[in-house]
């Protein structure tokens, strides 16, 4: 060989170290945002007070505000944000299209329909709503998958089919809201806009479990996904079994989305935004799962914080992420138009 392999490997490791460093930096940002959210509120508490409360000490007043109000809000925000982020970015990479996040192609809308139906028509709440939205999210995902399958898998077809299904589901939601008892509508609306209000600590362990399992599965599949990005043919010739891989990644992502949605409601555009932002930060070559999970969590925390304290009225987190996401969607559509293709 003409080139020195040692120098070359050294270069490679330097790049890898940089990736880890950026990831660590993201993690630090998340940690700081978390502490900020625990400290700041109607009453501000000092860092030592927060730490004391977290360690289980009974500090008067602060204990209630931090343990009962702020901590569940924080933990659910982080977990749901991470779930949305990594599931969205997996979908986008798998279908090779930034438009292909689950909140664009009807999967989140599927969960929403089930939840609104449970709240308004069946008059249920809590665990039942979560389970209903989980199963319906999975059902809608399978429906879209099979409708778009035809003679072979096509990402473009799946996205179009998903957008169609999304429109239909939105219509169903509107119908339910119009027909419902006026007293129940605010509850459904709060859920629909995606909010961290009313989170309780007992929701956290299950959500954490699902996010952890999802994270592991997506990490395991991420190397194969990199091969799949080169097209089905190339992936097959590299030894990837494309069909089982795609089904497995889809199932995991939908599970994450539907589960997080079932607890916080569809926090709009987080799944859509996290992946592209993470890519901008760490670069396209890096593993996408952890960065997009961290970015998603950060997005939700910061948006929630902004929604609570930046304006005169308090807005649910979904409104703020919606404000961020909509311009990006328009930007993306303009860019796609310029490139003259469906990607």
């Amino acid at each position: 060989m003409k080139h020195n392999i040692a120098v070359y490997i050294h270069d490679f490791q330097k790049r890898k170290r940089k990736e880890y460093l950026i990831m660590f930096f993201l993690f630090l940002c998340l940690l700081m945002a978390a502490l900020l959210i625990l400290m700041v509120g109607n009453t501000n508490y000092s860092l030592p007070t927060v730490l004391h409360v977290l360690l289980g000490e009974e500090v008067e007043k602060a204990f209630f505000a931090i343990r009962t109000l702020r901590l569940p809000r924080l933990l659910c925000g982080i977990l749901a944000g991470a779930a949305f982020g990594m599931a969205g970015s997996t979908f986008q990479n798998m279908l090779r299209n930034p438009l292909a996040s689950p909140d664009m192609i009807g999967i989140s809308a599927g969960s929403s329909v089930a939840a609104v139906f449970s709240i308004l028509v069946l008059q249920r709440s809590g665990f039942f709503v979560s389970m209903a939205s989980l199963f319906f999210g999975l059902a809608v995902a399978s429906l879209i998958y099979f409708l778009s399958h035809g003679s072979g898998f096509s990402g473009g077809r799946l996205i179009l089919m998903g957008i169609g299904v999304q429109a239909m589901l939105q219509a169903v939601i509107s119908y339910l809201l119009l027909k419902a008892n006026q007293y129940d509508v605010p509850k459904a609306m709060r859920w629909l806009s995606g909010s961290l209000n009313g989170m309780v600590l007992k929701d956290v362990p299950l959500l954490a479990g699902v996010v952890l399992v999802g994270l592991c599965l997506l990490l395991l599949g991420s190397k194969q996904l990199k091969a799949l990005e080169l097209g089905d043919e190339y992936a097959t010739s590299l030894g990837v079994q494309t069909k089982p891989l795609r089904l497995c990644l889809m199932f995991t992502s939908v599970l994450l989305i539907a589960f997080a949605t079932s607890i916080t409601g569809p926090i709009s555009f987080v799944a859509f935004l996290a992946g592209p932002i993470a890519k901008k930060i760490v670069g396209n070559g890096a593993n996408h799962v952890l960065p997009s999970a961290l970015t998603g969590a950060l997005l939700v925390l910061l948006s929630d914080f902004a929604g609570q304290f930046l304006f005169e009225t308090r807005f649910p987190v979904g409104v703020i992420t919606g404000l961020l996401g909509a311009p990006y969607l328009i930007f993306l559509l303009i860019r796609i138009n310029k490139k003259g293709g469906f990607a």
Binding site: I9, E233, K279
Partner: protein, 268 residues
Amino acid sequence: MEANRVMELKAVNIQAGYDKKMILHGLDVTIPQGKISVIIGANACGKSTLLKTFARLLHVKSGEVSLNMQEINTYPSKRLARKLGLLPQSPIVPEGISVYDLVSRGRFPYQGFLKGMTEEDHKAVLEAMEIMNIVDLKDRFVDELSGGQRQRVWIAMALAQRTDILILDEPTTFLDISYQVEILDMLTDLNHKYNTTILMVLHDINLSARYADYMFALKDGRLISQGTPEEVIQEETIWKVFSLTCKVMKDPVSQSPFIIPIGRHHHV
């Protein structure tokens, strides 16, 4: 990659196609080991379909494709990917991927679930980039390269896969003539240096005849002729395969057969 391994790729009486449409009608093909073989034929004659059945992208409806006397579908997928690589006609370039990153994806069949790149992987990637002469481009984005450079990157990726057999579907299409010759020269180097069996589809009959050790001529999913370029490139065969009248001469540079098409407005 030892020199005298047995790596016989063979199709026996295969029928294959898409949905209800049959494309290949009972083909028998054995790919000569350690040689460069080229498949020629008119559009839609089944060339690409044949490559796809060899690379397990398409399952045969009847007949059998085997590697080393073993049915190709019985191989574990990663093991097969270490023996046989395919460069598709139009692979997808992910946005913003560096040359290095793309070439190293060719190491996928050698890597475990969570393991990173080993020294062996780095060596294979660097060597592949050296052979294709793209080391200087390693930090550039693939989607910003010219067509010729990009094709070298794809072939480097296939080389990093270190397979005994390399299948390429029209590796020179859309390239300027100088790049076409460059790519074919590089593939020949590869064949000489590592004894890699190369099977490809090419459109240019004259370049095929020059670079191929062995040729297959297909029409409507059937094999019309096979053999050395001298045996295959004959006026009648070209008529049968392409419905083209032509004159066969000798390439003054390589002494391989060379066709001159005739057409309606000129005659000999």
